[in-house]
Symmetry: C2
Subunit: 259 residues, 2 copies
């Protein structure tokens, strides 16, 4: 399987603390050694750092842990391969452009017996994972439903994606993150949780390595920051656990739709 | 304007030497301080590092200069903005997926009076540069001509792109790099040159900083590596200078088509 991490914030915020915890699970405190990636949005622009080796020993991951990139939306993934070889092309997150936005996606889980299901022509897999195939299918279905221009209410698109995720879940475990750079959606089959931090901020302690942060010193009183993860990253805070079929849509750090 | 850099090789090769020269031009020996980016292919997979600040002082560029990523195709760009603000979304290279391949593009030059020319629906600009607009138009025209599956001869696609580039050149300066990860195309309006290095390898000396490399020690006798740049990067080798309207298609380090 794999682990997911994402962030939605109302001010550009760095994710060094959370990524430091996640990266440990890529070979040190967890078995996810088959690649890692992280996508940062700055406005509509995005950039993705990825590597097909373990995050715990990656030089690029070291940079991400030491060099604070401030972003309003982040999606990250560490991989333990099941379908598809271990290489760069199969490393999440995956990105496609639609409606003049970069859509970024990461998946945790495994799908089976899906022959003939995830069909897409306009968006095609470059690698050979079940994850990317499902992503291309979702993007194709969005275009089939909404056409070549974005609807007025982007939340309608994500509500539709939730119904597609319900379909995908019929074929196995489908925990998913999807963003267009403004909205961030999480969909749960079995392992996904989130925490929304806002004033008054306190201290947080990572589970996977001996790091404590005092958010009160790193933030302003108006900051609202949600972090989503496969499993809680801190052990002194209360995380919201999602159930099978639950989804949440975040914008500027806050839940704006969901089941 | 901007500067371009690219590589095509028959074995995974690092571009540390050439990028070290280029990065100097991003603020130290050249005025291209408005962002930089570099895309590396590993098989069909690709990853892009980019930053909206000057390459000469970027921490991420420092990593690229010190951490050899081996690749068969590389596209890089340093930006001096004319159209479009200085930010991540307007930073080259740009990437889109078509036919299950990642297509990566960078442009040097400026286009004017093109209203109504570069129209595209399937591929849309995320930023607001003339460069990305022309890229989306090229990708749209490729789909209009060849449909949803790649033709048998990919060189046919690039020959068609050369005719599109001829059209784009009517609107200003259009020096361009385009790759699908296997083929690498360069198109010249006024500034583009290349060098193909093969055995017997010799020493090369960068123009922009005091670095000398002995390729004989870095290569094997079968290696063939072409580097493309806006202006020569070394001063003790002979670079091939392209003329207005010239294009070359490279694969595995060698010219395979062109004008």
């Amino acid at each position: 399987m794999c682990e997911l991490l994402a962030m939605s914030a109302n001010v550009p915020t760095d994710i060094v603390f959370s990524f430091t915890g996640l990266a440990e699970r890529g070979g040190r405190t967890g078995p996810h050694v088959d690649g890692w990636g992280i996508t940062f949005y700055e406005g509509k622009g995005s950039r993705t750092f990825k590597d097909s080796g373990p995050s715990c020993e990656s030089e690029i991951a070291s940079l991400i842990k030491s060099y604070p990139i401030k972003s309003e939306v982040v999606v990250s993934h560490i991989r333990q391969a099941n379908r598809g070889e271990v290489n760069l092309v199969n490393t999440h997150p995956f990105t496609r452009e639609l409606w003049g936005r970069y859509w970024t996606y990461a998946h945790n889980g495994q799908l089976s017996d899906y022959e003939g299901k995830f069909v897409s022509t306009r968006f095609q897999s470059v690698g050979n994972t079940d994850s990317e195939m499902a992503f291309c299918w979702i993007m194709q279905k969005i275009v089939d439903r909404f056409g070549d221009t974005s609807p007025e209410q982007m939340s309608d698109v994500f509500a539709y994606v939730a119904t597609l995720a319900d379909e995908a879940r019929q074929f196995g475990v489908f925990n998913m993150l999807l963003t267009d750079g403004e909205y961030l959606m999480s969909y749960c089959t079995n392992n996904l949780c989130y925490i929304t931090r806002r004033a008054p901020f306190g201290k947080a302690k990572l589970i996977d390595t001996d790091v404590v942060i005092d958010f009160d010193k790193e933030t302003t009183p108006n900051d609202i920051v949600t972090v989503i993860a496969t499993r809680p990253l801190t052990n002194n805070e209360e995380w919201n656990i999602l159930s099978a079929g639950d989804w949440r849509l975040f914008r500027l750090g806050e839940v704006c739709a969901g089941s």
